[in-house]
């Protein structure tokens, strides 16, 4: 069975289970009334749930270097929560937000997680962005039995009872994209470049194995840039010397902008060089400038330009709440899913108890997601599609490819 066949098969199985479960949970859906669910019954673990309200936490960096990226997630989560409240809340209870600032500092994430769980007794937390912040907070969630919805696409290699991962893990984002670009561009040689930390390194490890073992291609260079470095002259020259068919990039943060600007200035624009990146969303484009990016490709599960009714409504609502200039990137959309998934988990469980909600969520299908259909896998990640977007000069992307629904595989065999 080839990879693709396997994937298709899995999709069918998933859809089937999802459908079965959906029948059994009709009672939990719709507008619930609080009196149908007495507090004593739905909250046996002393969470901050009253007859009228339930508290949840939002934990992202509002300050510091990561505020650039995390602001979108905060906005999306607030939008989702506002919409849920408008529909009557969760089990008839309005959601109250306690927002904490992780301040781009990983220990602070751990501290604030503790505060949210131990002091505020929130029923769920939507938060974290970088892997480092999640890694710092994770032991707290496991010890205090909290519930975290984590929005960022990330390296995988993790699966916790207390976390749902609403972004893609590495194989979901990498494999299909490489398959597509290798076929589309008849590419044989690849140059891998990323920032120097775990997500790019793990991603490049998976990419290299896939290129060498499944695509029959060759990796002609692998390069890591110190976080925050903005000088790319030498790296670009190395690339020019190797003349790869494809540059496969995972550069993040301030370096990202410098990378694209200098690449263009050195004559390596999209007319001469194909590049597929896994680290550029609409959020980053603001800083990079569309003209520097035009013609390059990104592999993401979501682009703002996706054409489906869910997304059109989502984009409209988002702009209504946060202003017409707001842009929506992959992570922002994934963050938007968090509160909706939590609502579903609680309502399927008929309880705010973390233990019950956690068991109830796998198998759930969210059909109203802006990215289209998603489904929660027993491994706490989402089934999702991969899309390739080709950037336009105006900072939006045209989706040029859409994969099948991909099963999440945080511990991919053969890629470790």
């Amino acid at each position: 069975m080839s990879t693709n066949d396997r994937r298709r098969f899995m999709t069918k199985v998933g859809a089937l289970t999802g459908a079965l479960l959906a029948v059994s949970m009709v009672s939990g859906m719709g507008s619930a009334f609080a009196e149908d669910f007495p507090t004593a019954k739905v909250n046996t673990t002393k969470l901050a749930v009253t007859d009228k309200t339930v508290k949840v936490g939002i934990l992202h960096s509002a300050t510091g270097t990561m505020a650039i990226s995390e602001t979108g997630s905060i906005q999306a989560e607030k939008l989702a929560i506002a919409q849920i409240n408008e529909m009557g809340g969760v089990l008839g209870r309005k959601i109250e937000i306690i927002q904490e600032d992780g301040a781009s500092d990983w220990p602070t994430f751990a501290e604030k997680s503790k505060k949210l769980l131990e002091n505020d007794k929130v029923a769920a937390v939507f938060g974290c962005w970088t892997s480092a912040s999640r890694k710092a907070a994770l032991p707290v969630f496991e010890k205090d039995n909290g519930l975290l919805f984590y929005p960022t696409f990330y390296e995988g290699l993790e699966q916790s009872k207390n976390v749902f991962y609403t972004g893609q893990e590495a194989t979901q984002q990498i494999l299909a994209g490489l398959d597509w670009i290798a076929k589309e561009k008849k590419a044989k040689t690849f140059y891998l470049i990323g920032s120097d930390y775990i997500w790019p390194r793990t991603s490049m490890k998976i990419a290299r194995k896939h290129i060498e073992q499944h695509l029959g291609g060759k990796v002609v260079g692998e390069e890591y840039i110190a976080l925050g470095d903005t000088q790319f002259g030498s790296v670009i020259n190395k690339i020019k010397l190797k003349k790869p068919d494809i540059i496969y990039a995972a550069v993040v943060g301030g370096s990202n902008v410098a990378w694209f600007k200098q690449l263009n200035a050195a004559g390596l624009n999209s007319s001469k060089q194909t590049m597929l990146t896994i680290s550029v969303t609409e959020d980053e484009v603001l800083g990079i400038g569309g003209e520097n990016l035009a013609g390059f490709y990104s592999a993401m599960k979501y682009f703002q330009t996706l054409k489906n009714p869910n997304n059109e409504k989502f984009v409209a609502d988002f702009k209504k709440m946060w202003g017409p200039k707001a842009v929506i990137g992959d992570v922002t959309q994934a963050a938007y899913l968090g509160p909706w998934l939590w609502k579903a988990a609680v309502e399927r469980a008929g309880s705010f108890d973390v233990d019950k909600a956690v068991v109830a969520l796998p198998g759930y299908e969210l059909k109203t997601a802006p990215e289209g259909y998603v489904k929660v896998d027993p491994n706490h990640h989402l089934w999702s599609k991969l899309r390739i977007g080709k950037w336009r000069a105006d900072g939006q992307a045209d989706v040029v490819y859409e994969s099948e629904l991909i099963k999440p595989d945080p511990f991919p065999k053969g890629y470790q």
């Binding site: 300050t63 301040a103 501290e111 131990e118 002091n119 480092a132 032991p139 930390y197 775990i198 976080l227």
Partner: protein
Amino acid sequence: MKTLSDKLLGGKQGVLGLALLALLIMVILPLGLDIFRLNLVGKYLTYAFVALSLVLLWGNGGILSLGQGMFFGLGGYCMAMFLKLEASDPISTKIQTTPGIPDFMDWNQLTAIPWFWEPFKSLPLTILAILIVPTIFAYIIGFAMFKRRVGGVYFAIITQAIALILSILIVGQQGFTGGVNGITDLKTMLGWDIRTDSAKYILYYVNAILLFGCIFLSRYILTSKFGMLLLAMRDKEERVRFSGYDVSDFKIFTFCVAAMISAIGGAMFTLQVGFMSPSFVGIVPSIEMVIFAAVGGRMSLIGAVYGTLLVNYGKTVFSETYPELWLFLMGGLFIAVVMFFPDGLAGIYQKHARKIPFLKRWVAEEKQKQTDAHASHGKASTTLGAEA
């Protein structure tokens, strides 16, 4: 004649200060706070070690190190390495390609524990490493710089650069160090679960006791002739040199002691918080820790502890309610302390608390005794034409 206890306690005023601080840390805070808040205080108190080291180094020695975070980090990493090895037993890591090694090593295709991790299988060796590794590191830096009389602003900038290099190295060598994520998911120490509430209480007190130990150690140093020389060097380095002292030796020693104290703080941080990350090694935390010392009063050991608690308390409160305002406040604090309160809280205390009559009398009595001692020693001498 000063006895040892006098030296450590620092006279009546010192006893009063220590007693108040001990009351606060050992009794009031544990009784008044739930375990979550107390654990936070415990974490802050680990920073107090660094602030303490800066009082020695910067306040008294005039040597501003903008790289104390690296010693804090080194101590913390040593402890984290031990705990990580213990947490990575083959059973709990059976999902890995190579079970029995830390998870991040497995992700980075390492198949065996690197040699420099080996000593951290043993707790005694780990404790030794916590004390020795940062100290040796400080000795090398100190030797190279102070023997060549690098000081002042240069020293500050070079320590900063070294801190930066170390953090880039730690981030870059993630197979050996855990990279930017740091070393996380630490669980037990010799089988004892460090994440339980009771463990937190115990660690809090261990931390507090160690902190007082370091205060005593620092106070001993400062009240000895060494301390006087430190002050003397800060103000008139040439004079000290021409009084027959090898100034660089004294500076190296102080730098080493400061490194060791910071490292103890780092190790206690790892134990109480449950992880260590390179974000402590870099520039920003190193400078922030200077402000803890500055707010408390750069000359005052006890002030450093209060300063640390106060700034961190402020940070927690403000970042919970007005995260936007926090940076303004922190920045303002830097400026205000430097411009208006160069002696920090301790300075304000000296200025105002001394006017409280009962304290005034108490201190005066002591001073009088000292003067009497001098006067009784020799014959009264003829006074001379001094206009002062």
